[in-house]
């Protein structure tokens, strides 16, 4: 049983049925962060799309990037809205910008004490949290303050 930030029983992510984001989810299983970049104009984009929003080219590439970022915004939900969260207490969510990939943004939990101070602009690094016991195993990209 692996250690996870939120309790077991949370909704499990699965790749979309049309296959759009399969490379992302396969990458997380290997402990790698893969995002989209336009093969025509070089524009970075997230979440996954079928074409480049800047030049409308369908030549979208999947590119592995370094798992580091900067906290753009944050929140700490206290009120549980899912049965799995009852009794968990407050947890921290961060919206992280990736400067190395055109400042695209990703969501994850900020690992560490539940009452830790969160600093907008603070540097964080990715942690790959495996959920091997799930019906269809998956890995979440989480974040922790850079030491």
């Amino acid at each position: 049983m692996s250690e996870t930030y939120l309790p077991a029983g949370m909704p499990a992510p699965v790749p979309s049925a049309d296959g759009l984001d399969v490379p992302y989810w396969e990458g997380t299983r290997r402990g790698e962060l893969w995002v989209q970049q336009c093969g025509s104009c070089g524009n970075w984009q997230w979440g996954p799309e079928w074409l480049c929003h800047k030049c409308t080219s369908f030549e979208i590439k999947w590119v592995q990037v370094e798992g580091s970022g900067v906290i753009y915004s944050w929140e700490r939900p206290w009120h549980p809205v899912h049965p799995a969260l009852k009794g968990r207490g407050a947890y921290t969510v961060v919206l992280v910008e990736l400067p190395q990939a055109g400042n695209i943004r990703m969501i994850g939990n900020l690992l560490g004490p539940d009452d830790q101070e969160v600093v907008i602009g603070g540097e964080v690094e990715a942690v790959f949290e495996a959920h091997d016991d799930a019906d269809t195993p998956y890995t979440l990209v989480q974040w922790r303050p850079k030491t």
Binding site: L6, M10, P11, A12, P13, V14, P15, S16, A17, D21, W25, N43, Q45, W46, G47, P48, E49, H53, K54, Y72, S73, W74, E75, R76, P77, W78, H79, V81, H82, P83, L85, A90, Y91, V93, L95, I104, R105, M106, I107, G108, N109, I120, D135, T136, L140
Partner: protein, 423 residues
Amino acid sequence: MTRNEFVGFGEVVSGASDFVAKCLGRGAPMSARSIRGKVAIAGIGESTYYKHGQSPDAELVLLLQAILRAAEDAGIEPHEIDGFASYSNDRNDPSRIAAALGIPDLRFSNMHWGGGGGGVAAAVANGAAAVAEGYADCVVVFRALAQGQFRRFGQGAPDPTVSGDAAYMSPYGVMSPSQKYAMRATRFMHDYGVHRDVLKAIAMTSYQHAQNNPRAVMHGRPLDAETYDDSRWIVEPVNRLFDCCQENDGAAALILVSAERAKDLKQKPVYLLGAAQGSDHRCGAPVMNASNFRSSSFATVAPRLYQTAGVTAADIDVLQSYENFTTGVMMAVVEHGFCAPEECNEFFTLENLAAPDGKMPLNTSGGNLAECYMHGLGLQLEAVRQLRGQSCNQVEGAKLAMNIAGPMVTPVSSLIMGSEETL
């Protein structure tokens, strides 16, 4: 356009004077194709408003009550209704309603895309467009919500697996609207140094107004500063309990007719002066990647509203601004040019916002926070009351009213109504 230009557009919010200038429509004459003055709101009606789960009547019954009361208010026969417009995937479709009411000729049925309450002003505008262009003569705009009888908005979906946008949010505990929109507000308040007293003032304003409104679910339940401050966090650092809208059972309806027809009906006509809907660059980009993120989605919509109505923010007498969360009110009011983002701490005070004497009376029925979460349609009805002189918190001589619909979602919408002397 390049991404850089759009990033620059996001900066519009920080360039307060430019932004206000844009809202004031300087150098942008009113469009010749404006809806201004062509259509009037002739009737309003609502069911009794209940806490969620407490309605003794089915959702459709609540809706039929609201429609019949609106028809009676207007002084028209229910069989004269020939069109319907709604939003947010309302469960009650026009064919079902028309059959129940025995409507002989259903001529217009319209659903505005988008979840949440962002579409309420757009639904009024869509119905008005149908009347203006002759597709229908008497259109009902409606919303019915019996959240006790169906799934509640504030709870996560029970699905064991999620894909698409939800796959990047739900597993991290970001499921409810309060959780999805707190990120925008946190960054906005951080960047502009906004104090939490702003949010408290917005919440207390709604509760104060509800104490004079017998329709309000929170009538007889005033909110003081200490109770607000002591209330539990829903989502830190922006949403305490009283910053979040209620969830209710109820229904509301309003009736649109041509300006000519309205003159012969029972009530003093209230005219639609302008409306706008939409959202700016990639507002709906997945995983919170909207270009202009610290926003309520009105950056391009608000300037278009003023342009089509031919009035400015300074002309508005009373303001109804949808409270999903107090933060949404704050950002939407800023984006409509009532104050610069840096001026929030001074602008949003109970003294400024409370009717009848505040500088900009806000949510004078108690709104979604304290009257009823009618997905914003209750706020439209309240604007009509203000311009008729029938509000429980009447702003003396109110001639121009603005309604801002569900901030932070996409698409959003807003509109301006006026009394006859504003035409």
